[in-house]
Symmetry: C2
């Protein structure tokens, strides 16, 4: 990765580190490789970030952060439930198409070292002023209203949320399997497949919960 003219060395390192960590994970990444790809010396990494762990933690937080603002903007909007679902699937797929490696990366590191998870969540939420609890309560209420008024079938809000996230995120983390088994290992077929899902998934969800 080439350094921008108006980019500090510190930021440049972080960008390169993100690129490598995302593909290879914490354990698979070598400081030497980051240094090489950044076009600098290995010691300079330690000068700016002291340890591999600290550098990784910064990368992880940045990567993980991507997941939430979209969710927040969507939940707190004034739309109807169906409109929210359509908008969410659309914007989330766009986001994931631009950052396809992040989900698998986050999932692996979270499973690899789940001890720090709670702490990481807390600091991310604080630093970004996210009050997910309140947001989910809001969404929960909105879903409950639709259920009670007979507009959608009875479904637990958390189950619905996980269903939506599953349908959005899984096709990206399982790319090698989907592409390899279902799509003849053809990259352009995979791209088309994902593109089609923007419509397929929101239709699928709305069809699942709406009462006709």
């Amino acid at each position: 990765m080439k350094k921008d003219t108006n980019e500090t060395t510190e930021d440049h390192i972080l960008n390169v580190a993100q690129e490598v960590f995302l593909k290879k994970g914490l354990d698979g990444t070598r400081m030497q490789e980051i240094a090489d790809k950044a076009g600098i010396n290995k010691s300079l990494l330690h000068y700016y970030y002291r340890t591999k762990q600290k550098l990784f933690k910064k990368v992880f937080k940045v990567a993980f952060k991507h997941f939430f603002p979209t969710i927040k903007a969507n939940i707190t909007s004034e739309k109807s439930l169906f409109e929210k679902i359509e908008a969410f699937v659309e914007t989330y797929y766009n986001l994931l198409q631009k950052n396809p490696y992040i989900p698998a990366f986050v999932i692996h590191e979270l499973n690899r070292n789940s001890a720090n998870v709670a702490e990481i969540f807390k600091s991310i939420f604080q630093e970004n002023n996210l009050e997910l609890d309140l947001m989910f309560d809001e969404l929960n209420k909105q879903i409950q209203v639709e259920v009670d008024s007979g507009k959608i079938i009875p479904i637990d809000a958390k189950q619905l949320i996980v269903n939506i996230l599953s349908l959005c995120i899984f096709p990206f983390v399982a790319k090698p399997i989907i592409k390899g088994i279902l799509l003849e290992n053809d990259e352009s077929k995979y791209k088309t497949f994902i593109e089609e899902r923007k419509k397929v998934v929101s239709q699928f969800i709305i069809s699942a919960i709406s009462i006709r």
Copy 2:
């Protein structure tokens, strides 16, 4: 992990190696740790499996294999589409409850080194006599029949398959996130949540595709 009395050392190593590789991945696993947990010397690992890579490959194949027989048995059964979906979700959730680490493991290693993926698929399919292509063609036809006769909404068979797999597998790979954010980091709540999904998911899918 303790050695069974009637278990060969070779098998014992493989079992212990699976346990460690599943949790820590290829890069995160140390041969020393496998040796320690198996209660043997490090050199003995190399005596039986020559290299870390070869030991890993064996573990990976065994882990990956779990994914397919259930799919095959389900697709080739004589059930109706809805019955197949219900049976599949039920049996797949049971399988994943018993092997919760496998999906995240497979996904990470597949993303980490996708070069060998095609080769791995091929050898697994051959060794287990799986003809996925034919099976998917069969399922495709069955779905198409239901679509044409107006029993289910028009949907691409591959999209439907990915939807089903997403809803089944994602809740396991994203366990730390779901548990940490939605379920107050409470293990028993997570267990209940998963248990409920056996019904929720198949209802969700059938509701999504059926014409009422």
